[in-house]
């Protein structure tokens, strides 16, 4: 009788052990699956050079909106894969390319060429033409993309929504920009 009992507990222990092992083996891929968007490798791979168009699209001394297709998209992303940005061409090949997202809470800032200000419709953030914070709650200036000019075309390094945890491509703050 006692033998039988013991054997039953042996089976129970064995059963628990098998389930724990199987559970761990199962948990690793599930957790990895859930957290995969946050892997550093995937995040660095998300950034690449995208073309904004010929330089002639951006007159000197003006700030214009440009849109690009995000470098990494799914076929079913639809219009959400199109990202806007603000391109300021000071002169020649000197540019500033600002993210559309306000540095405060990500709302889309609008450029007002008459008063040379970017204004945010959500909480009233305002920025100067060079992206430096002018007023309101933003903790810093507008996020900026790295850019390069090749064959008379403007490219920016993009692919990720900029937030305070992930400042566009270069991580430079407009507040430190020398050109005011």
């Amino acid at each position: 009788m006692s033998d039988g009992m013991t054997r039953r507990f042996v089976l129970l222990k064995l059963g628990i052990a098998i389930n724990v092992v199987a559970g761990v083996v199962l948990a690793v891929p599930i957790v990895g699956y859930l957290l995969s968007p946050g892997r550093r490798k995937r995040m660095t791979e998300a950034l690449s050079w995208v073309e904004l168009g010929e330089l002639s699209k951006f007159p000197e001394g003006q700030t214009r909106m440009a849109t690009f297709r995000n470098p990494s998209t799914r076929p079913w992303d639809g219009p959400t894969g199109d990202i806007p940005c603000w391109v300021r061409r000071m002169q020649g090949q000197s540019f500033q390319v600002f993210a559309i997202n306000c540095a405060h809470l990500g709302c889309p800032v609008r450029w007002f060429p008459q008063s040379n200000l970017f204004m945010c419709p959500c909480h009233g953030g305002a920025y100067y033409a060079d992206g430096a914070r002018a007023a309101g709650p933003p903790p810093r200036g507008l996020f900026q993309y790295d850019f390069k000019v090749e064959n008379d075309r403007l490219f920016i390094k993009a692919g990720m929504m900029p937030t305070l945890g992930n400042v566009a491509s270069a991580g430079r703050s407009s507040d430190n920009s020398p050109c005011a």
């Binding site: 859930l34 957290l35 968007p37 946050g38 892997r39 550093r40 995937r42 995040m43 998300a46 909106m65 849109t67 995000n70 990494s72 998209t73 799914r74 079913w76 992303d77 639809g78 219009p79 959400t80 894969g81 199109d82 990202i83 806007p84 559309i100 997202n101 405060h104 809470l105 990500g106 709302c107 889309p108 800032v109 609008r110 007002f112 008459q114 008063s115 040379n116 200000l117 204004m119 419709p121 959500c122 909480h123 009233g124 305002a126 100067y128 002018a134 007023a135 309101g136 709650p137 933003p138 903790p139 692919g159 990720m160 929504m161 937030t163 305070l164 945890g165 992930n166």
Partner: protein, 484 residues
């Protein structure tokens, strides 16, 4: 009738749940607890059941794809038979459900129902509140319009403020580097599988505890709760002065449930479904994103918080608030139940409700947001122009063209980000006006590089004329005194 009874007898001979149901239904509740104050919990449950039914109906047509979700909502609104009505029922149902959960929370707090032995019932209730709010937010995301898109932008920006791992958390929340297809499917899975499953499970636990521990007795000032005597006193009360839940005490719940469902039907039929607003195309930036009703107060807090403590307050504040609610019954688990003898508790409720109402009102009017089209859409009041000199009128033109009107109101029209300028010249002298326009400050951008000297001169000339008819403009106190 006989057939029904026989069928039930046949079923119960195999199911063996008849006795349990009977006992549960007939469990005695204190007579005074069969009160109209005690209908909000069952009301919230009624709404939840209705949300499940309407939600399943919507899921039959809705397509959780970033490309197609918006179109499928249009089909629901305009082509699918009664689709608009089901969307309206689900939308209004969510407003009713969140409101009822909050009212239930306040009632339970004021009636001391969180005290011994119902501490865990309260804690589970706090989790149910969080899940309900989670449903409200994820539901707003599934609407997949401009507000949903930029609402996610706000969530991502908030999460990005988390120290050290903020950048990675953003990607995990969004399901990728940008707000796109995988963001929608994430929130779809949360809204349709994860949170409802948890809600059903936790509602079950919540109800089980209400049954096992008994509904809270109607608080009487001076009848204190002690761990030693409460359970025996409660048993005595329900047996000496109690009534069965079914059918006596339940009557009011049934009436209230019927009124609630009728209320949702009325609102749905009269006011219709919510949105969707503009297409979720981020390149269309002519938008003024606003969150749904329940989250307007957070929107206000985000605008009004001093920048220096904002990240801390927005990230740590909610955690502290939730922890406070969770540990409340452990901290104040015994003693007085009646709100009549708990002035601090009543004050806390009044403060919280007032703060919520004021912040929601502010979120509705958003005085901190520039009125983006004021400069081109709103005129300068005629009284500020009539009979004025050419340079003053030129200044009014500068005021419009340089978008001053977006942040400054004239005669109540325009932005309220900055002060209204109807009497600005009584507050600032000419020199101070020049300084303020050119250098900014006090949360105003500097316009020194954006205005030519003639523009600035004209603008200040215009501002100098803005004062009430009988009140003279401010003057430099160190200068010569004005002519008598």
């Amino acid at each position: 009738m006989r057939m029904i009874r026989e069928t039930w007898a046949w079923l119960d001979a195999r199911l063996k749940i008849g006795d349990a149901i009977e006992q549960t239904a007939a469990h005695p509740v204190p007579r005074r607890s069969a009160s109209w104050w005690y209908v909000f919990g069952s009301g919230a449950l009624t709404m939840f059941i209705m949300q499940i039914v309407t939600g399943i109906c919507l899921a039959l047509v809705y397509v959780p794809s970033a490309d197609e979700a918006f179109h499928s909502l249009q089909v629901l609104n305009f082509q699918q038979a009664m689709g608009w009505f089901l969307r309206a029922m689900h939308g209004w149902g969510s407003i009713f459900m969140v409101s009822l959960v909050l009212i239930h929370l306040i009632q339970v707090f004021l009636f001391g129902a969180f005290k011994f032995p119902r501490e865990l019932t309260w804690m589970v209730g706090v989790l149910l509140l969080l899940m309900t709010l989670g449903m409200a937010f994820s539901g707003q995301v599934l609407r997949w319009d401009q507000d949903a898109y930029w609402g996610l932008g706000i969530v991502a920006s908030l999460v990005g403020r988390v120290p050290l791992i903020g950048g990675q958390l953003v990607q995990i929340v969004l399901g990728g580097p940008i707000i796109a297809g995988e963001t929608l499917t994430r929130f779809f899975a949360l809204h349709v599988f994860v949170i409802p499953g948890l809600l059903i499970a936790f509602v079950g636990v919540h109800l089980l505890m209400v049954l096992k521990l008994g509904i809270n007795d109607y608080p009487m000032p001076g009848r204190l709760v002690t761990r030693e005597t409460y359970v025996a006193e409660y048993e005595k009360m329900v047996h000496e002065d109690g009534e069965p839940f079914v059918p006596d005490a339940m009557q009011k719940d049934v009436v209230f449930a019927g009124l609630l469902i009728s209320g949702v039907i009325f609102c749905a039929a009269v006011f219709g479904p919510f949105g969707p607003g503009g297409t979720p195309d981020p390149t269309i930036i002519q938008t003024v994103p606003r969150p749904d009703y329940f989250f307007l107060w957070i929107f206000s807090v985000a605008a009004l918080m001093p920048p220096g403590i904002e990240s801390f307050a927005l990230l740590v504040g909610p955690v502290v608030g939730i922890l406070f609610l969770l540990v409340l019954p452990l901290w104040a688990g015994v003693g007085e139940k009646s709100w009549r003898r708990r002035p601090v508790g009543v004050l806390v409720v009044i403060f919280a409700v007032l703060a919520w109402a004021i912040l929601t009102h502010l979120g509705n009017t958003a005085p901190w947001s520039p009125v983006m089209d004021a400069w081109s859409a709103l005129p300068v009041p005629e009284k500020d122009l009539a009979g004025k000199t050419a340079v003053v009128r030129q200044g009014a033109l500068v005021f419009q063209v340089k978008q001053c009107h977006n942040c400054h109101a004239l005669a109540g029209e325009g932005g309220h980000r900055g002060p209204a300028l109807d009497d600005v010249s009584t507050r600032l002298t000419k020199d101070q006006l020049f300084r303020q326009v050119l250098q900014g400050g006090g949360n105003m951008p500097a316009y020194g590089t954006n205005l030519s000297p003639p523009e600035t001169t004209a603008l200040v000339a215009f501002l100098e004329t803005l004062h009430p008819a009988n009140e003279p403009p401010a003057r430099d106190a160190s200068g010569p005194s004005p002519p008598k």
